[in-house]
Amino acid sequence: MERHFDHDLEELKQRLLWMGSLAERAVHQAVHAVLDAEEHLAEVVLSEEDAINEMQIEIDERVQRLLATQQPMAADLRFLLAVSRINGDLERIGDQAVNIAQSATRILRHPQVKPYVDLPRMSELAEAMVRDSLNALVRGDQELAQSVLRRDDQVDRLRDQLFRELLTYMMEDSAQVFAAFELILVAKNLERIGDHATNIAEDVIYFVAGRDVRHPALDRR
Amino acid sequence: MSSPRILWRKSLNFVMLTLTGVAAFAVVSVLFLILGYLIWNGGTSLSWNFFTQLPKPVGETGGGMANAIVGSLKLLFLAAVMGLPVGLLAGVYLAEFGGKTFSFIVRYTTDLLNGVPSIVIGIFAYSLAVLPVKHFSALAGGVALGIMVIPITVRSTEEFLRAVPGNMREAAMALGASKWKTIATVVLPAASGGILTGMLLALARVAGETAPLLFTAFGNRFWSQGWGQPIASLPVMIYTYAVAPYDDWHRQAWAAGLVLLALVLLSNLGARFILARSKAV
């Protein structure tokens, strides 16, 4: 039987994906502000921060309304709970992008510290994780979500690598401290973005399969 | 629990079962005894002549009761025309309208009217319809029977109208039907099975009344024309023939009794059939 509730759920999903696309775009633009030395990109990211935050509020209100009025069960309930969590992670991703954009503005005042090798690799990885976790939601694809979970370690390793490299640069030449320090912050932000993408993937698995795969270290028998 | 107690209980059960069974059997057998008696004694007199010929003059054998059969039907027709509409509308009033006190009065008097001896009703009809015109008539007989039909019709109409669920009336009114339209288009059709049954049973009941006809319709050995002449009827014929000294007449009386009983039984069965059919909807 067709329910108008299904139409509400579909609309909610579309809004969430729209928010996701805004967040993806923010990350991409913020990182390329650094990599391509395009300062105006950083300004764009800062100006679009409000849009993402407003969407978080809108989506939360929709979820609240649907939970209160429709008494959802089973997959519908899991979907709404997953949306609520993913909502928060997307907003945090937006915040991280803003942080990267702010760092970009400061970095671009100084000459480039070194050729960017690991940073682009890391940003591509993080962006792909965000994109794939959202695609996994659209397609209900557990496998894709699992692949996102596996990539988190790579991102962490790249961050550690970048930290070590940049620390060496800072120790060699004290004039480079300002720029190098901001680059470390950017790396940290990207690693956090990866974590949030991982969270989204976990929520997708919860929605699709009903399994809570967070904190596998905890013995939950 | 002690054994003699159980024994006492069991025997008491058995005795009661037997007693009630015998009584029930007695009830059934009475009707069949009457039927059997009538068939035995009157069956032989039933013939084509019986249904088509007029009574023969005193002393001659043969002849029939055609005029009495037709007469009874004419009287029932008059009773129906005069009594059923009154009973129906009064029943509608009691069930649908009516304040508390007035309805109570109407119901009570209806029951009283039902209990008035039929001969008294006959006398009443006599003073109403015979005395002023100084002759007996079918019309007068119809008046008497019509009065008797009213109480039964009122009660059964009211009962079946009340049995129609109130929410059906509400549904009709919520669609914009006035009170009377609701009654006419919803309530009466819904109760029609029961009301028709009640009417049929009322007519069957008065078909066998003899006393009121004795001084209203009186009787007639020939065909009666129109409505203003005395008219023969089955119950009166039975009485007349039964107290006469002729054997042939006695046999014809038995036959008439059989016909009358058959008419009443068939009406009863017909009524039950209609009721069952209407309930099955």
Binding site: M1, E2, R3, H4, F5, H7, E10, E11, Q14, R15, L17, W18, S21, L22, V44, S47, E48, D50, A51, E54, E58, Q64, R65, A68, T69, Q70, Q71 | P165, N167, M168, E170, A171, A172, M173, A174, L175, G176, A177, S178, K181, T185, V186, P189, A190, V281
Partner: protein, 286 residues
């Protein structure tokens, strides 16, 4: 150069069309349902309504606006007067002896007590708690309202139209001459809805229409109400709060004959303003 997404607060409650995948490439403005009553048109306006069964007062100074083309739910514990109140809206209480109404009920600005009651009941239809089809055929049931109101046109078309609106046409189209009692409980209730819709009422009052029905049938009827909204204003009395939450746009909570709170359904069930409302909907009493 992309611009920041803007949000226009559009004052309408119309159901939103589904966004396509393409939509999330463009900055689409968000439309929100704003807070209740004032912006919507009012089909029914009730002012200072008092109702008495003989000496006993059942409804106290009730003020309520029922918005056009929306579903308004009336909730409250047993005996709080919600059914009594509903029945004043089509003057059905006049069929009970010894009742008295004070106050004003306006239908599109006209006082219903100055209108002819038969005409009023054609414009304000009612569906009852237990399905009550007439002992006639399905066709005759739906056509009844039309016939008694003197409709002269093609009955067949209207009967079909009403049965379609009640989502019953496909199930009965080959059996229109069959008795209405041959239908199941849920079908009978939908038949009663079709019957009420046949005269094209502006308002449909539903008095606990699903309380005698199973959950699947109830869901069907709730979905039906959602589809009818565009053409019909509805007021539903229900003792089932979840149903009120699912199926209505606005909810009014009544207690002991008083209106305690009336607001948009999603708001009333998430952040009610009156503590009694909160106590009732959380099941702490009633």
């Amino acid at each position: 150069m992309e611009t920041a997404a803007t949000k226009e607060k559009i004052v309408s409650g119309a159901p939103q069309p589904a966004l396509s995948v393409k939509a999330f490439r463009d900055p689409v403005p968000m439309e929100k349902i704003t807070s209740p009553t004032i912006e919507h048109k009012q089909r029914l306006t009730i002012s200072n309504l008092n109702f008495y069964y003989g000496p006993k007062q059942a409804v106290f100074k009730l003020n309520l606006k029922i918005p056009t083309n929306r579903v308004t739910a009336l909730i409250g514990p047993s005996g709080c007067g919600k059914s009594t109140f509903l029945r004043t809206l089509n003057r059905m209480n006049e069929t009970i002896r010894n009742t008295r109404v004070e106050g004003e009920v306006l239908l599109d600005g006209q006082d219903i007590h100055s209108l002819d009651v038969v005409g009023l009941r054609r414009r304000v239809g009612m569906v009852f708690q237990r399905p009550n089809p007439f002992p006639k055929s399905i066709y005759d049931n739906v056509a009844y309202g039309l016939r008694i109101n003197g409709y002269k046109g093609r009955l067949d078309d209207l009967v079909e139209h009403s049965l379609r609106r009640a989502a019953l046409w496909d199930e009965v189209k080959d059996y229109l001459k069959k008795s209405a009692f041959a239908l199941s409980g849920g079908q009978q209730q939908r038949l009663c809805i079709a019957r009420a819709l046949a005269v094209d009422p502006e308002v449909l009052l539903l008095d606990e229409p699903c309380s005698a029905l199973d959950p699947v049938t109830t869901a069907k009827i709730e979905e039906l109400m959602f589809q009818l909204k565009d053409s019909c204003t509805m007021a539903i009395v229900t003792h089932n709060m979840q149903q009120a939450a699912r199926a209505s746009d606005f909810t009014a909570f009544m207690l002991d004959g008083h209106l305690i709170e009336h607001s948009e359904t999603s708001k009333l069930f998430t952040t009610p303003t009156d503590p009694r409302t909160e106590a009732y909907i959380t099941g702490r009493f009633g």
